[in-house]
């Protein structure tokens, strides 16, 4: 399976808008949303049947049995995460608890146990020939590279014979991004011509380079700041990274999304630009011997 990952660094650059257009253009039979903190792809790719849901367990959380508790305060003193409070009864704040097990260790009467805790939910849509894998992290759960890995695994096992897959990546530059990068064939970075967008883009490019993944860049809303657009293009030229095109700022794009359509469903300037970028991306992805990965 050839996997194309779409990343952005900074949020709000239009990553999901472009991913949904690519899914439409390629008639992709497998796709995934790895933005488990704030998944949006499902809002625009139409699903006809309800998903199969699976609970995702993160680290366990401590629980205090107040029947057994002798209120010695050992757990509270030793907790480094300020997760235990004692107004009247001792209790654990599940949002602060990191599941380290120190309280369980120090409790002299075995009143503390670590209990498995659901940290999110995996969703798998299988509509006819299409497989769509996504997830939603529960509020207050940390960023999770592992859930991202599970989303990709779920897509792969449900669509083992599919040749091509599109993955909407996680924002930022942290661990979920690294988890979404692992094993993909190519990364398309959606850059935005702003000072903060450029610094994030550079960090992503460096990370992708460490993985030896083929990387290309396109610039969204390029006309909102020509100076910065040129900066991005010069940076990419300097680094030998393929530039696949510019997408103009387009009010019609907002309208399309709000109508539940992708930007290639309607006749608009941004849609036309994305179509051109799509063909170039496919050329690069399927280029013979082009990748560093074997």
């Amino acid at each position: 399976m050839k996997q194309l990952l779409i990343l952005s660094g900074k949020g709000g650059t239009g990553k999901t808008t472009i991913a949904s257009a690519f899914i439409k253009l390629s008639k992709a039979k497998a796709y995934a949303d790895c933005d488990v903190d704030a998944p949006n792809l499902h809002l625009i790719t139409k699903q006809n049947s309800p998903p199969k849901k699976t609970d995702y367990y993160g680290l366990p959380k401590a629980e205090i049995d107040i029947e057994l508790c002798i209120e010695c305060g050992q757990c509270m003193q030793n907790c480094r995460f300020e997760a235990i409070s004692a107004d009247g009864k001792y209790k654990v704040d599940p949002f602060a608890c990191e599941g380290c097990g120190v309280c369980e260790l120090v409790c002299p009467v075995e009143a503390v146990t670590l209990k498995p805790a659901v940290a999110g939910e995996l969703l798998l849509y299988t509509d006819g020939e299409k497989v769509f894998s996504t997830a939603q992290l529960k509020m207050g759960s940390g960023t999770s590279g592992m859930l991202v890995t599970e989303v990709k695994k779920q897509m792969k096992s449900a669509a083992a014979d599919v040749e091509f897959a599109i993955i909407d990546g996680s924002p930022g530059i942290g661990c979920p991004v690294i988890a979404s990068l692992s094993g993909v064939d190519m990364v398309l970075i959606v850059a935005e011509p702003s000072i903060s967008g450029i610094s994030d883009m550079e960090r992503i490019i460096n990370t992708a380079a460490k993985f030896g993944v083929k990387t290309a860049v396109c610039i969204n809303k390029f006309d909102t700041n020509m100076q910065n657009t040129e900066k991005i293009e010069n940076f990419c030229k300097g680094q030998g990274i393929s530039l696949l095109g510019r997408i103009p700022f387009d009010l019609d794009a907002v309208k399309a999304i709000n109508n539940g359509q992708t930007i290639v469903d309607i006749d608009c300037a941004s849609g036309a630009a994305v179509k051109a970028i799509y063909s170039k991306t496919m050329e690069l992805l399927f280029e013979e011997g082009g990748g560093l990965r074997s």
Binding site: G11, N78, C100, L137, S141, G142, T143, G172, P193, T224
Partner: protein, 286 residues
């Protein structure tokens, strides 16, 4: 008064709103809690910067005392320890600093040392005091930095403080809004925007924080986020119009309030609206 600014996702204008409100307030404190990608300082360009490192405590082993019982290796829920060829190896970037291995070691072979995970910068930009938290790449958690940022400013209740939160609704956001008197949720006028707004809406409700919404990038025509607010009976405290000149200033990391009278007026109005809300909340709660 401590005002936290948050959004379900990056790129909605959280930094735009918090930076410009802090600048419109003239004498204020701006705290950037988005420690993985702090951008506020790019706008404020603060001067006279003082830096302070942020540490966590991690274990170190005395090889002479370690007898290889592996109790620490088995205990560590994060798998930060391994015992290879009669030697204990500690993976510092995996360690969550819980201190369990040190408590557990029967030979007292483990002690703690301090490790730098990032830093706090304090500087001045006109009359705005700018705090920036910066997490070193690869560190597991920015929470110790946020705790330090917020504790440092805790005694100063009477100051006007704006907290630029990390995006999303993870535990790191909870830490950032814990002591806030009021939360501003910034939302975009799209279907995606509504979904992301709903996430932070659930969060502030859970923490029982008074809050209001600022609608950013408003266009003519329908605004799904506005409809959401009306349906849920959420107070809309302000609207920032979509405007390419504002977008241009923002993408060049300029503070709009300091560049144009027009935006100074927009954000001053917004600031007054926020103050009124906070005042209303504090008096109705007392």
């Amino acid at each position: 008064m401590r005002i936290a600014v948050l959004s379900g996702k990056g790129g909605t204008g959280k930094t735009l709103v918090s930076v410009n409100l802090a600048a419109a307030a003239k004498i204020s404190t701006y705290i950037d809690c988005d420690v993985e990608e702090p951008n506020g300082h790019l706008f404020f360009k603060p001067e006279n910067i003082q830096e302070e490192e942020v540490h966590v405590r991690i274990p170190k082993v005395d090889g002479k005392l370690c007898n290889g019982c592996r109790k620490c290796v088995d205990f560590c829920k994060f798998n930060a320890l391994a015992y290879i060829k009669d030697k204990l190896i500690i993976f510092e970037d995996i360690c969550h600093s819980c201190g369990g291995c040190i408590l557990l070691c029967p030979e007292k072979a483990l002690t703690e040392k301090e490790k730098v995970i990032g830093k706090i910068q304090k500087g001045a930009s006109d009359q705005v005091t700018v705090y920036t938290g910066i997490l070193n790449t690869g560190e597991p958690s920015g929470i110790p930095i946020i705790k330090k940022l917020l504790n440092e400013n805790k005694p100063e209740r009477n100051k006007t403080i704006f907290i630029d939160c990390p995006p999303g609704s993870a535990c790191i956001v909870m830490e950032s809004i814990k002591d806030a008197d009021y939360c501003i949720l910034v939302a975009e006028p799209t279907l995606f925007g509504v979904h992301n707004l709903n996430m932070v809406y659930e969060l502030v409700k859970l923490f029982n924080k008074p809050f209001g919404v600022v609608l950013n990038k408003c266009l003519d025509g329908e605004n799904p986020s506005e409809q959401f607010c009306i349906e849920k009976n959420i107070k809309i405290i302000g609207r920032i119009p979509f405007d390419s000149a504002l977008g241009m200033l923002n993408s060049n990391a300029e503070i709009a309030v300091r560049k144009s009278e027009r935006y100074r007026t927009i954000f001053s109005f917004l600031l007054e609206a926020v103050k009124k809300e906070v005042h209303h909340e504090t008096t109705s709660n007392s």
